[in-house]
């Protein structure tokens, strides 16, 4: 039996920062990880996909290099090499986390943790045999989520979820993407940029339905017109059948066929093996562990953070919650988890979003003003030949408060951080408009869009009244 102040179950982007923060605050910390440090994000999610997308994006630009006055012959790619680079990046980062654990004195247990009691956790190795028993004062559950694979989808080599797709060393020549959410759209854009014929099928009326409607429209147009992706929405894909090297399904009356299908229709919480019933925690209908605003479960000494608690399913939300949970355990002052979480989508073009969408603000019956500015009117964007898209501020008309910001276009995922800072600090559109932004940069667009809120744009013609 080993004793720890804090035990973290799950070493993903929520769990390992929680462990580090607890150690920084003087706690003795154990981290239980069943597979790889870094979790889904580092091993089978954010990082490997972004590595591949970096290649596909550059490849796509190379194909259009003549518009910049360049010629590099006929560009080509080697997917196996791309995949190898991806693995190298992942391994380097993973090793880094191992070093951080060591450096902070966090003891890592490789196995599956399950509760024996509220303060006792048993760790089982791969063969199911108990390899350690931990006595802990507090526990942070950070077990994350996994791709949902409902029963109506047949099993077959040509039907994969995101993790399986990332293991490929050769791209299919045609691909059905089932589910037009973040994961589905990112894979769709990446494979289309590399020349695959891609069809996205989304049951809801649009892809990325929670996004601001203007942003969605811009992305969808780009996916369809510039990348040649077929986007089918509003109906489910039925009668899915997997044959030899072929997969098909019915969208209404039309038969959709491809060499491969990637299933990206949502993620399920991972709670199997935790033995939550031993501590009296019940999951909700969807299987998530309910928590309060301090990330506490119904058991005062057990916290749950990240995907498993059913909040926002984003790595950086998990990190923030993990740090908050560790601080709430190790210090006397309790903090609420941050509620303002920006999101980024690495489609082509990229999307960044924070705070309220225009539609959500109107649904709350807020009186909103909108300030929009296109990259096409921005010097730096034109100079860089990256002038697609726009940004948009959602502003409270009565107080001028910035309620939300949305960006679609090159570097949108980077640009959104300035907006997140502004929204969190409850700045006004007037203040962003007066903040001096470097020229010529992409960031200037926030200042221009803030001017647009008040109809005082410098670089756009006034609206005719």
């Amino acid at each position: 039996m080993e004793k720890f102040d804090v035990t973290v179950i799950g070493g993903g982007p929520g769990g390992y920062p929680a462990a580090i923060r607890a150690a920084q605050l003087g706690a003795s910390v154990a981290l239980i990880e069943k597979e790889e440090l870094g979790g889904t994000c580092l091993n089978w999610g954010c990082i490997p996909t972004k590595t591949l997308i970096a290649s596909s994006e550059l490849f796509h630009r190379m194909k259009h290099a003549d518009t910049l006055g360049l010629s590099a012959g006929k560009p080509d790619f080697d997917y196996a090499a791309m995949s190898k680079r991806k693995d190298a990046v992942v391994n380097k980062l993973k090793a880094g986390i191992g070093m951080l654990m060591k450096g902070n004195g966090v003891k890592v247990f490789n196995g599956i943790g399950s509760f024996v009691g509220r303060n006792r956790i048993s760790v089982a190795g791969k063969d199911g045999r108990e390899i350690a028993v931990i006595e802990t004062s507090a526990t942070i559950i950070a077990t994350g989520s996994e791709s949902a694979m409902p029963g109506f989808i047949p099993k077959g080599d040509c039907i994969v979820e995101s993790r399986g797709f990332l293991g490929l060393t050769k791209l299919p020549s045609s691909l059905i993407v089932l589910g037009g959410g973040v994961i589905g759209c990112e894979f769709a854009c990446m494979t289309a940029q590399l020349g695959s014929k891609v069809t996205v099928v989304e049951m809801l009326e649009d892809i990325l339905i929670t996004l601001d409607a203007d942003i969605r429209r811009e992305l969808r147009t780009n996916m369809e017109k510039n990348l040649g992706i077929r986007v089918l929405t509003g109906k489910p894909l039925e009668k899915i059948a997997a044959g030899k090297g072929k997969v098909s399904g019915m969208f209404g009356d039309e038969k959709i066929e491809a060499d491969m299908m990637i299933v990206a229709i949502g993620r399920r919480p991972v709670t199997k093996g935790l033995a939550l019933e031993k501590v009296g925690i019940t999951t909700n209908k969807a299987g998530f562990i309910p928590v309060d605003e301090f990330c506490r479960t119904s058991v005062a000494t057990i916290y749950a953070i990240g995907d498993v608690n059913g909040g926002i399913q984003l790595a950086h939300a998990a990190t923030s919650q993990g740090i908050t949970a560790a601080e709430n355990i190790c210090s006397k002052q309790r903090k609420k988890a941050e509620r303002l979480v920006p999101s980024c989508i690495f489609t082509s073009p990229e999307i960044g979003s924070v705070g309220l969408t225009e539609q959500a603000a109107r649904e709350k019956s807020l009186n909103v003003k909108i300030g929009k500015f296109p990259f096409a009117a921005l010097g730096k964007a034109m100079a860089s030949a990256e002038d697609r898209g726009f940004v948009k501020w959602v502003v409270d008309a009565s107080t001028d408060q910035l309620l939300g910001a949305h960006a679609v276009g090159a570097h949108a995922t980077e640009l959104i951080s300035e907006a997140a800072t502004a929204v969190r600090a409850e700045l006004t559109a007037g203040e962003i408009g007066r903040t001096v932004h470097c020229h010529p940069t992409f960031s200037e667009i926030w200042m221009e869009a803030a001017h647009a809120v008040h109809g005082e744009c410098i670089h756009a013609a006034p609206k005719r009244k």
Binding site: D396, Q401, L402, A425, E426, L427, T428
Partner: protein
């Protein structure tokens, strides 16, 4: 010729009211029978239908302003029709509201009264002039520079002591006030400050919850929510009447336990044979019969004289959204059980739908307040002004009780009589309470009544 809409008199005792909501906007078409606006009197909220057909040309009375009955509130006519320059003087009791366009120098406000002032039952009405409100809070003597600073800092100036001539607040006073209240240490988000300015919130009084003690929008919103607001007219009436009663009538209380076991079984038998009565029906009937036997409990005193009422005007308290109303069953002593049931059902239904007219709620001589459905053991009610007693009925609960010399589980209901001791003494109160109890426990009586 445009027709004038007036604030209707909806009951004999209704003297004034306010429009709480216009259902039509200026320019909206109006048909006969359309609901044009909703008014609130000191008794109830009511929807008012149009007698005219046409277009709502002009709204003369905005929402939330209390005016005497018969005051013109708007015009219905044909689009483009010319309106009279001065509104008609339908209401002889007060000057009507004047349309805004002509209102520049007209003291249109003099028909308004502060919402707090009600026509009080049993109080000497004061001359209207005395009740007129002062123009807002007393005027603040403050220099323009000081006022500008107060506005810029989003604080409330009423707590600042003036050092200028005649106690006038000058800029230095505001500066000292800011310094002594730690204004320079105050941290507030830009949006929170704008919101506070807009809502008239003193940011020195807002509790901060942001990082490092920064005042956030959320904090200001909380302060806005906590700011005192006028209660609904109904709540104000409840507050005034209950305070008056509880502070001027010496209450005493008598509780008895009623064994409802047999009556519940009997009621079930009746139900099975197709006759539906509620427990309340039996209580109302038992009370009516007892009031006939004890007229003093059905009486009223002002402290020097007594009026013995010859009939039972039985009030039944009904809880409604955000309040309580007491519709009255007229001459309950001459009603059969069935009639009593039917009338109480109708009144309770009207009460819940907000359809009671003021006349439905005046003149009660005794009130029954039944909390039976709210799972309570016992409670004391406050006497309705103008009455001598009120009966509080609690929930019927299975309780160990002595029955025929043995301890049994019986259905026991506690009832508590609140009595005006100026006119009813303990012995009479006890006898009355026991009379109600005996009647409820007497199944033979109910067999003859149902």
């Amino acid at each position: 010729m445009a027709q004038v809409l007036i604030l209707p008199k909806l009951g004999q005792t209704m003297e004034e009211g306010a429009i709480v909501k216009w259902h039509k906007k200026e320019g909206d078409p109006v048909k006969k029978g359309d609901i044009v606006f909703e008014i609130e009197t000191d008794k109830a909220a009511l929807e008012v239908e149009s007698f005219f057909e046409g277009t709502l040309l002009k709204i003369l009375l905005n929402e939330g302003i209390t005016v005497p009955v018969n005051t013109p509130v708007g015009y219905v006519g044909q689009p483009g029709e010319k309106l009279p320059d001065a509104p008609p003087t339908v209401a002889p009791v007060a000057k009507p509201e004047v349309p805004k366009a002509a209102a520049a120098s007209t003291p249109a406000r003099d028909v308004q009264r502060p919402a707090v002032e009600m026509p009080a039952v049993g109080r000497t009405p004061k001359p209207a002039a005395v009740e007129l409100p002062k123009a807002g809070p007393s005027r603040l003597f403050i220099s323009p520079r000081a006022r500008a600073l107060v506005k810029k800092c989003v604080i409330d100036a009423t707590g600042i002591r003036g050092s200028g001539p005649d106690g006038r607040i000058i800029e230095k006073d505001v500066q000292n006030y800011l310094d002594s209240h730690g204004y320079s240490q105050l941290r507030i988000s830009p949006a929170a400050k704008k919101l506070a300015a807009k809502e008239g919130i003193d940011i020195l009084k807002v509790k901060a919850t942001g990082d490092g003690g920064r005042i956030m929008v959320h904090d200001v919103e909380r302060a806005v929510a906590e700011k005192p607001k006028a209660m609904s007219k109904m709540r104000q009436v409840i507050a005034r009447r209950l305070t008056e009663s509880f502070s001027s009538i010496p209450h005493f209380y008598v509780s008895v336990s009623v064994d409802m076991t047999d009556l519940m079984l009997f009621r079930q038998d009746l139900k099975n044979s197709g006759k539906k009565f509620t427990v309340t029906d039996f209580i109302l009937e038992a009370v009516t019969l007892s009031l006939v036997e004890f007229p003093v409990v059905n009486s009223y005193t002002d402290g020097t004289s007594v009026s013995l009422r010859s009939s039972v005007q039985l009030g039944m308290a009904v809880s409604v959204t955000d309040g309580l109303v007491v519709p009255v069953i007229r001459n309950a002593e001459i009603l059969s059980m069935q009639e009593l049931h039917d009338i109480s059902q109708v009144l309770a239904g009207k009460a819940r739908e907000g359809k009671l007219l003021p006349d439905d709620m005046t003149g009660s001589t005794f009130t029954v307040s039944n909390m039976g459905m709210l799972d309570v053991d016992n409670f004391n009610a406050i006497i309705n002004p103008g009455e001598a007693a009120i009966l509080a009925v609690a929930s019927t609960k299975p309780t160990p009780a002595v029955h025929a010399g043995q301890i049994k589980i019986r259905q026991i209901m506690k009832i508590t009589l609140s009595v005006d001791h100026r006119i009813v003494d303990g012995a009479v109160g006890a006898a009355f309470a026991n009379s109600v109890k005996k009647k409820l426990e007497d199944i033979e009586l109910w067999k003859s009544l149902t």
